[in-house]
């Protein structure tokens, strides 16, 4: 399935794009997306944390992704 990945902050620097289509097997979870990203961009594994949001909500590792999901890659936040 195709996902639309959106990257902010250092995730964008690592990913090299602010938005990019990304392919994953149908029915795969956030954990599997994370794994696939780290394999392709090992720099992601060096971050203090790596979270993902779908529909403007953080999604846990076992969240199942769907075709055309817009997934936002959320590196360690530093607001405030």
């Amino acid at each position: 399935m195709q996902l639309q990945l959106i990257a902010y902050g250092i995730a964008r620097d690592i990913f090299g794009h602010s938005q990019l289509a990304f392919s994953l097997k149908k029915g795969q979870s956030v954990a599997e997306l994370k794994q696939a990203l780290i394999e392709q961009y090992p720099e992601f594994d060096r971050l203090a944390s790596l979270r993902f949001a779908v529909g403007e909500e953080y999604r846990s590792n076992d969240y199942t992704l769907s075709e055309n999901d817009e997934v936002v890659i959320i590196p360690p936040v530093s607001g405030g």
Partner: protein
């Protein structure tokens, strides 16, 4: 009443306070966070705050809702700056008005602690010779 703002213009503490003023409040606690040089020994030229805006707003709103419920706050106002800031400029203002003042301090401390953990906003320090996303690495 909850007031959440994500602004790319200088924040006003008075404005944030006005959002929570209430004759029934025993006290209002505020937190004001200014940007400072986080990386010791290197001189920061400027800071840039980048937000995933719709979700940042939503997460700030969740914090305000929790504060309202858990500390029986009358009003909560959270204003966060985005864009380019100079050292010393205000990045965030949180104001909480509660019937009893001790609750206002606890609620305000909870709000800033939680904001720093959950709100998708990122701070980049720009130096003469490079830049760093704050807190990105362990």
């Amino acid at each position: 009443m909850i007031n959440v703002q994500l602004l790319d213009i200088p924040l006003s503490v008075d404005n944030c306070l006005q959002q929570v003023q209430d004759d029934g409040a025993g006290g209002t606690a505020l937190f004001v966070g200014t940007v400072r040089n986080q990386t010791q020994g290197r001189s920061v030229v400027r800071l840039e705050f980048e937000a995933y805006a719709p979700m940042a707003w939503k997460e700030m709103h969740k914090i305000a809702e929790t504060v309202t419920t858990r500390w029986k706050a009358l009003h909560v106002s959270i204003h966060h700056r985005t864009g380019i800031l100079k050292i010393g400029e205000i990045a965030v203002v949180i104001a909480v008005a509660t019937p009893h003042r001790q609750a206002a301090f606890e609620a305000c401390a909870f709000a800033i602690d939680t904001l720093k953990e959950t709100v998708p906003i990122w701070k980049k320090e720009v130096f003469e010779d490079g830049e760093v996303w704050v807190a990105a690495h362990p």
